[in-house]
């Protein structure tokens, strides 16, 4: 996973071939179902997503990616199991702490939701390039200037991190101590963050000129170089997914979605 392509995994699976907007709608559908429908759907979703991952050859990567939310999921489970307010049904006592059934239930459901959301998002990111997604959105009317901002920010992050590290070195070479009392460390913030902000503003000036020179400020009339493939199957898949989203919302609101 490089910094500029994020989670993206190079591949040719059926998931890779789907149009970015189809996948975005699919993600939206899964998220809505996760948070609006009864908790039993979580089990179905996990199974379905695992199946999708396997069929796209991404099962191993998915398993490896699970370490990212591991701490969060554990925290959700533990904090809620042991510290659920108003709990009465104690299952397990460990000294002054006790696991309650309400807490465990709530914790499991919450963690389950986060888990499904994570899996769906990460599968989306494994198979979709930000550039393609944004180009697809721009083709349908989104602002290409915002798309530029997003793509540019992604590419600039690693450079900025390197720069922050250089500044840390450079200021220490001028005698700035980064260890010591709390007060001293707080006072080191301005000499360290100052060059990041001010130095970046100088860059911003030059980059503004460079972009202007290439017509960035010009009004509408932009054409696109990058072409995103839209397979015919997606043309009917997308409306189906939209209907699915609406169905989930309706179900949640009218009565099927409780608990």
């Amino acid at each position: 996973m490089s910094a500029t392509s994020g989670y993206f995994v190079v591949g040719t699976s059926w998931l890779h071939h789907r149009h970015p907007l189809t996948k975005l709608l699919g993600l939206g559908f899964v998220l809505l179902a996760t948070f609006l429908l009864p908790s039993i759907t979580l089990v179905l979703l996990v199974i379905a997503l695992a199946g999708i991952a396997a069929s796209a050859g991404l099962a191993a990567r998915l398993a490896r990616a699970m370490r990212i939310p591991a701490v969060l999921l554990a925290s959700i489970l533990v904090v809620n199991a042991f510290f659920y307010p108003g709990a009465t049904d104690r299952l397990l006592e460990l000294g002054p702490l006790a696991v309650s059934r309400e807490g465990l239930t709530f914790g499991t459901i919450s963690a389950g939701r986060v888990l499904v959301a994570f899996i769906a998002s990460v599968l989306f990111l494994f198979t979709t390039l930000a550039d393609d997604l944004l180009e697809a959105l721009v083709a349908r009317g989104a602002s290409h200037r915002i798309a530029f901002v997003i793509l540019s920010a992604v590419q600039l992050v690693p450079r900025m991190q390197l720069r922050a590290a250089s500044i840390l070195d450079a200021q220490q070479a001028r005698g700035l101590a980064i260890e010591g009392s709390f007060g001293r460390r707080i006072r080191a913030l301005v000499p360290l963050i100052g060059p990041v902000l001010l130095g970046s503003l100088i860059d911003v000036r030059e980059r503004t000129f460079a972009l202007e020179a290439r017509g960035f400020g010009a009004r509408p009339g932009r054409t696109a170089y990058r072409q995103v493939v839209d397979p015919p199957s997606d043309r009917w898949l997308r409306p189906v997914l939209v209907l699915g989203c609406i169905a989930v919302i309706v179900a949640a609101v009218t009565g099927l979605g409780r608990g």
Partner: protein
């Protein structure tokens, strides 16, 4: 139609500035004062001058950025291909002119995955039909020699490659005028030479090119250039003439070595950059004119106060491998005695910067040790070592953050815990050494890059270091600034302190340092005085590291001189004596 044109209806100039004056809001004096300049299609024209003379303002005006993007009061006229360059309409000049600046990475949109798409960026904004884009892009890729980079990620390219991509992104838009503001300032000699050749080739192909530069190799390729001084155009003509003592010399700018030699040999200014012609001329006639007084800059050598004992710096069997597996140093042993001025030369990746960073603890060795007077630095923190070793980083913007230059320079000594009176004295001395005493109250970021680099140098000098390490002190520096840095090096050395510099600038290395250390692939391959290392027998060794000796040394070897002169003055002396 042919008859009409031969009868003298002048073609519309690609760029025409007439009586152009520019004043920025809040500034008392104008940044450009009644400047006239014309550039025709197919011409490569240069602009040079000291810091603050108005070069960047000229570039911005030519690019149509004033007053649309940068607020300024503009009088007189500026026209690109007949179109008013002071127009407020963003589409007016689109596709007619483009500007490239000094920092390569800032010229890229940083939003595209490949060089090909990067080139397409401008075409997208122009609204060019998708079907036409590929053809135009391929043509330009080939023309600028970057076809092999077509599918690379732009931000991962080297500086020189990025500048070529930046130029290509403008050229692909079909611009008739290309303006460049110090395009080679951040590049190494190879990258700079590349860009120079590219500009010449573009001009030959019919583009009008206006380049603002200090680098004589670029200016030497222009057919005509203009010298700016205090917002006015004070000289124009061939570079060999304008950069010589009769024009640039009047304003205290040292002439480049080749130009100086051509003058002394009373050669035609058109041949001032032709090394072969100079050699031929000098070998048959010798210098015709007496050298006379050197038009030197009025910089006194700065004497560092001799009040600190300077340790012996010893590097023993140093080896360092980066986390990504690259072995940057593979066993380097060096000893620096107090009062030595040593320069480390080598290509990117030779390990020179890695070595320097071990000297003040920024990097820790995997094997081997760094010792001062026999005491290992292993357990000392970077900020603790900063009292002894002053490290001047290449990019001053990694350090500057204070409101004024004075406060900035006092940051280092304040960190070292000295009292207010001592700090004030050190700051004064440091600012004096770099010639910035007059701008003590200015915001450092309101100064241009060359002066910011001097501020950065001053801020380290104010810490009164025993050992001074300079990382690429001349990149982005103008000739006057380079001379100042040289004076500081000499002053430190004369005061018994140790100076170690890393540089690509061969003239700077030869002129101010007594010891040259050549590195390649993590080891030292040569170590000796410049007279030895830059002489003819060592040319092959030097070439293996991608470096060429400075012009004075090259000409001396070509003339068969046994003693290699370190500077142009030295060469002239030797030639005069020989006569």
């Amino acid at each position: 139609m042919t008859e009409t044109t031969t009868r003298g209806i002048a073609p519309i100039a690609a760029l025409r500035l007439a009586g152009l004056s520019v004043r920025y809001p809040g500034q008392r004096s104008p940044s450009l004062d009644s400047v006239d300049l014309e550039v025709q299609a197919g011409e490569l024209v240069g602009v040079s001058g000291r810091t603050g003379a108005g070069k960047s303002t000229l570039a911005l005006a030519a690019g149509g950025f004033l007053p649309r993007v940068v607020r300024a009061t503009v009088t007189g006229s500026a026209a690109v291909g007949g179109i008013d360059a002071t127009s407020l309409d963003p589409r007016a000049l689109l596709g007619h002119v483009g500007i490239v600046f000094a920092t390569p990475a800032n010229q890229l949109s940083a939003s595209k995955q490949t060089v090909r798409e990067e080139l397409a960026f401008g075409l997208e904004n122009l609204g060019v039909d998708r079907a036409d884009m590929d053809g135009r892009i391929s043509t330009v890729l080939v023309r600028l020699g970057i076809a092999n980079l077509a599918d690379r990620e732009p931000l991962t390219l080297s500086g020189g490659e990025q500048q070529r991509v930046a130029i290509a992104s403008i050229v692909v838009m079909g611009t008739s005028l290309l303006v460049l503001d110090e395009p080679t300032a951040q590049l190494d000699p190879v990258g700079a030479a590349d860009v120079g050749a590219l500009l010449a080739e573009l001009a030959r192909g019919g583009t009008a090119v206006l380049v603002v530069e200090h680098d004589p190799t670029i200016l030497g390729q222009t057919s005509r250039m203009v010298l700016l001084e205090s917002a006015k155009a004070v000289g124009s003509g061939e570079p060999g003439y304008v950069l010589g003592s009769r024009v640039a010399g009047l304003y205290g700018l040292p002439a480049p070595t080749l130009v100086r030699l051509a003058e002394l040999a009373e050669m035609d200014p058109a041949l001032a950059f032709d090394e072969a012609a100079i050699v031929a001329n000098l070998s048959s006639h010798g210098p015709r004119l007496a050298p006379g007084a050197e038009p030197s800059l009025s910089i006194g050598a700065w004497e560092a106060a001799r009040d600190r004992p300077v340790p012996v710096a010893q590097v023993q069997e140093l080896a360092h491998r980066y986390p990504n597996g690259v072995e940057a140093l593979r066993g380097v042993s060096l000893r620096f005695a107090p009062g030595e001025a040593a320069v480390i030369l080598g290509q990117n990746g030779s390990g020179k910067t890695t070595l320097a960073k071990h000297l003040n603890g920024l990097l820790r060795p995997d094997r081997g040790d760094v010792q001062f007077d026999g005491v290992s630095t292993r357990n000392l923190r970077v900020d603790e070592l900063s009292a002894t070793v002053g490290f001047v980083f290449q990019n001053p913007d990694d350090q500057l953050f204070e409101r004024t230059v004075e406060r900035e320079v006092s940051f280092g000594p304040r960190n070292l815990g000295w009292n207010a009176a001592t700090v004030r004295q050190l700051v004064e001395r440091a600012l004096d050494a770099v010639g910035l005493s007059a701008v003590g109250g200015t915001n450092p970021y309101d100064l241009d890059l060359s002066r910011r680099k001097l501020v950065s140098l001053a801020s380290v000098l104010a810490m009164n270091p025993s050992i001074l390490v300079l990382d690429e002190p001349t990149t982005g520096q103008d000739p006057v600034g380079t001379e100042r840095v040289g004076a500081v090096v000499r002053g430190m050395r004369d005061a018994g302190r140790t100076v170690i510099a890393i540089t690509h600038n061969m003239e700077f290395a030869a002129a101010h340092f007594d010891r040259v250390i050549l590195m390649r692939e993590g080891i030292v391959i040569a170590d000796g005085p410049p007279s030895e290392l830059l002489s003819a027998p060592n040319q092959a060794l030097l070439a293996s590291t991608g470096l060429t000796p400075p012009p004075a040394a090259r000409i001396a070897s070509a003339l068969g001189l046994t003693l290699v002169p370190r500077t142009a003055a030295g060469l002239i002396e030797a030639l005069t004596a020989r006569r």
